[in-house]
Subunit: 159 residues, 2 copies
């Protein structure tokens, strides 16, 4: 591997580790456990799971990988906080959407060249990107990996 | 910046973001709040704070930055789980140690060239590193950044 490949490979490895840890924790939780709150008065695990799924689905167009697969999740898991709407998605559907979205993201990240990692994402303008090339796809993926770690830390408390 | 610099800079930016978020959360918590548990029957915030401080202190020799500053923290925050020993460190001492350790780490990361990020760390043997050069310093720092995010997710629940 070239130095550039070694550097970008570290991000992929980090993504895979965090996602693998989360998936292991999620598989160990029953649908009933997912209805528990991470702490008294806080979000249900089910809500956090939906939130992560919607946020990762948004990465598909943001990183130029493809169209969104589940834009219908935004209303329940991004626009509204937990407890406002009646659940319209089953846990089985959520588990399926989560796998599908992350399989597509991971496959794309594995194909990304170092150049691809350094490209602009769709949430930054050409002008802003020209002024600050650190606002690239790699920065977004590291940020989402941290976001997933953050909520994994909460989800494990309910075990 | 060269491509290599842009790639390694993303890791530094991610470290700074997560550390900045954690520091903001910690500053907002009183010493009394740090005695709360993140969830019933789980670790106290104080313990997690000590744990993170000891883990980051270990990065100094591991990444070839310098000697450990606070090896005395291991006994209370790594070797033993929460609640086994009587607290021997004050919260003020912990806050001071945390700042000191992370200032030293961040200063070193800012000086690291892309080559430095790809160097071996001290927890991997020459032979293992030759066989797998992805076991480099960058991988360790991304892993510790995720670890910090993981516990930040827990600490904010006690607010």
């Amino acid at each position: 591997m070239t130095n550039e490949e070694l550097l970008s490979n570290a991000a992929l490895k980090s993504w895979n580790q965090v996602l693998g840890r989360f998936d292991k924790d999620l598989t160990a939780l029953t649908d009933e456990q997912l209805q528990k709150r991470v702490a008294p008065g806080k979000n249900r695990l089910f809500y956090l799971y939906g939130h992560l799924t919607a946020v990762h689905d948004r990465l598909l167009p943001m990183l130029g990988i493809g169209e969104r697969l589940h834009p219908e999740l935004d209303e329940a898991f991004i626009t509204n906080p937990d407890g406002v709407l009646t659940d319209s998605v089953s846990t089985a559907d959520l588990r399926r959407a989560w796998s599908e979205i992350n399989a597509q993201l991971t496959a794309a990240f594995e194909r990304f060249t170092p150049q691809d990692w350094l490209r602009k994402h769709s949430a930054v303008s050409d002008q802003d990107f020209a002024a600050d090339p650190t606002r690239n796809r790699l920065a977004v993926v590291l940020s989402r990996t941290n976001h997933l770690s953050f909520h994994t830390g909460q989800i494990v408390l309910a075990k």
